[in-house]
């Protein structure tokens, strides 16, 4: 089926015509004192306020038309029903199925709950001290070896929800190692005890070189301490993969293999057994709440009308900013230290999904797709890149993320009042920054000092959570997943493949040979010269 390009949609022209007609945000707020009330949506403990986006009622109405013109209702139904939405790899993308409550799961997907129960049993064994290392000692440390989706999701979630860790999970320390250069492992192996450390190897294909090179290093480290290879494999390695064969080949014991499936994309996999590190670190109950929160967002996305639909609105506003207002940068600004890794998580989710320039059927497209997306804890970013947002020459859109309630479990602490004061200071900063970005000079007393000129009109949305917990975090992540999918449908691209990442992997293999002095010399002079210099500096001429 030929995909209709965004700029061929009838309503796209109308949207472009609107671009020049939308006044400055300061003026929009002046015109309508109820703008914020009219431009906020709430569902599943998350409130989206998009009143600081540069849109008018006319724009919204045309974006709504766009939603129907690109047949999003049909695409959403297809996504949930398991249709082949990933055409270049000829498969479904059923991360939503992973979150469906077990009682509603059709027979064909009974494997999902089975895998979760297998994972739960494993988590229970480790947390209760039943699982033993080769010498019979209990496990004290777990290291998750994975990269990309097998790393960022669990890392981000465990960091965000630490305070909710269940009592039985508290004694166990969970670590993450992802980098191909072994830096993180190098630090970890220095102080971990091989007798009491369990490694999770998470890789969808179980061929990811980054992860498997880390796993090989660990294997060598363990082999020195453990007298028997069988015992080492049985007691210290758990495999998490869609490829049972590859796990088998590597040596993962059958009972230590946690499955997931080809129809779960890597960057959508934290809901599967890839979440094992989450369950180990925080407890299986927390992991289940995360799934439940995502499910609530799935239901909202599936059923709410477009202008009342949080992920759909985030997607439509994103398309408006990128394709009509030509804003090619998007900042993720959580005003919450617990969401430290959330920007990195979204960098992968959005840019790996939608950093594409051909349609689902492979034809080139001639408009922008995913913007450059980056971020940082908001209050820290104020001391880093906000200068550029306020007075630079780039237009940048932003998402502010904020939890209304905080520190509720610390009410009896002596420093509770002080913590609440910090929380309120943080909220004040978040609101101040989005206000100044939107209104510019209009937010302050007028000044004719050119250094104190603030143009404003930088659009942003604010995602306000009741509180950051497993349920709202699950919803928040699902929200961005659905935003990504919605945008991909509008752009006509496939968000579920990542061919751009493949080439580099192949070329790396060529270059390994060059470094070993065996490669072909047909490469470009820059690469050859660098390789020669490196070999010379390492004394390997």
């Amino acid at each position: 089926m030929k995909i209709q390009l965004l700029n061929q949609q009838p309503v796209f022209k109308a949207l472009q015509d609107q671009a020049v007609k939308v006044p400055h945000l300061a003026e929009l707020f002046q015109q309508n004192p109820h703008r914020a009330q009219q431009m906020s949506i709430e569902s599943a403990g998350i409130c989206l306020d998009y009143s600081k986006q540069r849109v008018t009622d006319q724009v919204l109405s045309e974006l709504e038309q766009l939603f129907y013109q690109v047949k999003l209702p049909q695409s959403i139904a297809e996504l949930f029903s398991g249709a082949v939405v990933n055409q270049s790899e000829n498969r479904a993308a059923l991360h939503t199925q992973l979150r469906l409550p077990a009682a509603q799961q059709p027979e064909a997907f009974a494997v999902i709950e089975q895998a979760l129960l297998q994972m739960e049993a494993l988590v229970d064994q480790v947390q209760q001290g039943v699982w033993r290392g080769f010498s019979g000692k209990r496990i004290t440390d777990v290291v998750n070896l994975g990269v990309g989706g097998s790393d960022l999701g669990p890392l981000m979630v465990t960091q965000a929800l630490k305070e909710y860790a269940e009592p039985q999970a508290k004694a166990l320390k969970v670590h993450f190692a992802s980098t191909i250069d072994g830096s993180q492992l190098f630090d970890l192996l220095d102080h971990l005890n091989p007798e009491t450390t369990l490694f999770l190897i998470a890789s969808k294909s179980f061929t990811t070189i980054d992860t498997l090179s880390n796993a090989d290093t660990v294997r060598a480290w363990l082999a020195k301490a453990c007298p028997s290879e069988t015992l080492m494999l049985r007691c210290h390695f758990v495999g998490i993969s869609a490829s049972a064969d590859k796990m088998q080949q590597w040596g993962i014991a059958p009972e230590n293999q946690l499955p997931f499936w080809s129809w779960v994309g890597g960057r959508f996999s934290l809901w599967s057994t890839v979440g094992c590190a989450i369950a180990l670190d925080l407890g299986m109950g927390v992991f289940r709440q995360l799934l439940a929160g995502a499910y609530a967002m799935d239901e909202h996305f599936r059923t709410a009308p477009p202008l009342q639909n949080i992920p759909v609105m985030m997607a439509l506003l994103g398309v408006w900013n990128v394709n009509v207002l030509d804003i090619r940068a998007h900042a993720i600004l959580p005003y919450d230290g617990r969401l430290k890794y959330f920007p990195s998580y979204l960098e992968q989710l959005e840019m790996e999904s939608n950093g594409k320039s051909v349609t689902q059927s492979g034809e080139p497209i001639n408009y922008a797709t995913c913007p450059v997306l980056w971020g940082e804890i908001g209050a820290n970013a104020q001391h880093a890149f906000y200068q550029l947002l306020h007075q630079g020459t780039q237009a940048v859109a932003a998402d502010f993320i904020l939890a209304a309630n905080r520190y509720e479990a610390s009410q009896s602490e002596a420093h509770y009042e002080a913590l609440i004061a910090q929380h309120e200071l943080n909220i004040a900063n978040c609101l101040a920054q989005s206000r100044v970005l939107a209104l510019g000079n209009a937010a302050v007393e007028p000044s004719d000092n050119p250094f104190r000129h603030y143009p404003g009109n930088q659009p942003s949305s604010t995602l306000l959570l009741d509180r950051l917990d497993a349920s709202t975090l699950g919803g928040l992540i699902a929200c961005y997943e659905h935003k990504v999918f919605t945008q991909a449908v509008i752009w006509g691209i496939n968000p579920f493949d990542q061919w751009g990442v493949e080439l580099g992997k192949q070329v790396a293999l060529q270059l390994q040979a060059v470094l070993a002095g065996k490669g072909d010399t047909e490469l470009d002079s820059s690469t050859l010269h660098l390789a020669a210099q490196i070999n010379s500096k390492r004394g390997r001429v």
């Binding site: 001290g129 010498s135 019979g136 000692k137 069988t230 015992l231 007691c235």
Partner: protein, 427 residues
Amino acid sequence: MNILIMGSDITAWTQAAVLASSGCQVSLLLDQNVEVESSEPQLSRLVQIQQAEGRLQIIRGESLHDPQTNLLIDARVNLDFDSRKQAIEQFALYLSKAQSLVVALVQPVEIGTTDRLQQQLNDQGLTQLSVVYWPSFIQSGRAIESFSRSDRIVLGSQHSGAVQLIKRLLTPFNRSLDNFMLMQPKEAELTKVAINGMLATRVSFMNELARFASLNQIDIEPVRQGIGSDSRIGFQYLYPGCGFGGDAFLQTLQQLTQALGRDYQPDLLSVVCSINEQQKDLLFQKFWRFYQAEIQQRTVAIWGGAFKPNSSDISGSPALILIESLLAHGVRVRLYDPAAAEALSHYFAEHSKRDQLVLCESALIAAEEVDAIMLVTEWKEFWNIDLAALRQKVRQPLLLDGRNIYDPAYAQQSGWIYSGIGRGQAL
């Protein structure tokens, strides 16, 4: 003298029986809903005699208001401050202003409890009550003797009247040597818990040495004797083993650990406790290593479930941890204990793998066709068992001696693969 004792554990029973036997009129008020089973035959007999003589009255669950009472002994355990205070207040309400009463706390308490209690009672106008701290040093296994012939009597009191009363009470038990020590209540409270802390530290230190010994072909036994022979140290509590237990002991340790850990410094005692927890897992780890983790479907005999010999008390016993781990790994357990079998049966009654646990009538029956024997409690009847004959009973001659009661050479000659705690054979 008229005495009311509140509490249900071995301290309460022992004090009740022994004080009655010295001529006091004693009422023992048991905690409600507590099952009472004296684990000491001698003590049970003494209780019966004193009841028959009419000097000991046992009451359960209801409060008692006897205006004749001179001494109220509070031997209740696991109690928060407010509930403790409440029961004492209740009792005191029925006293006239003129009637004085000594209240003696005898269980380990949070440091400062005695003074705090006195202060709060005073504030409520109950100034005729004198609260003292009189720690009990009763040991299960030798309960009567450890009370009636105590090495020392420590009393923390600020009231001379109370001191006189306790001294008079203890005259029959303190005749050969006056070992009465009077100090401030807080000092007595700390003394009580610190003694247990010191003993636990000695044992854990020996266990740490034993671990080193086992890895370096050193037999800890002559080392232990060498250390003990130094008169500054002495021989007591220098036995490495598979972990110590006992409710009272563990409870005081926990209290002291909390008290010492309050300033966020890593304290010695928490390491002492964690070494002890590791020791309780040691026999399982040896079993695991010996069979290279292939332990499912195997059978193990456990000899001894009580936390120490001559007691049916299983609280904090290493056997509990061991059985739990073995059952979780699909190992069948044949347990023998001359006194604690019933308590163990009760403890594991609701366990999902209860059917893997068999309680046996004798040590030899327990050993039939097993893949290992784990000796957990050093009951006297195990010491001189015929190891060569025993060898014929088992499937695999693996003897894991958690109390170092056998001579390794003799065990090996009798055909056993023997491993004690720090006896030089790493397993």
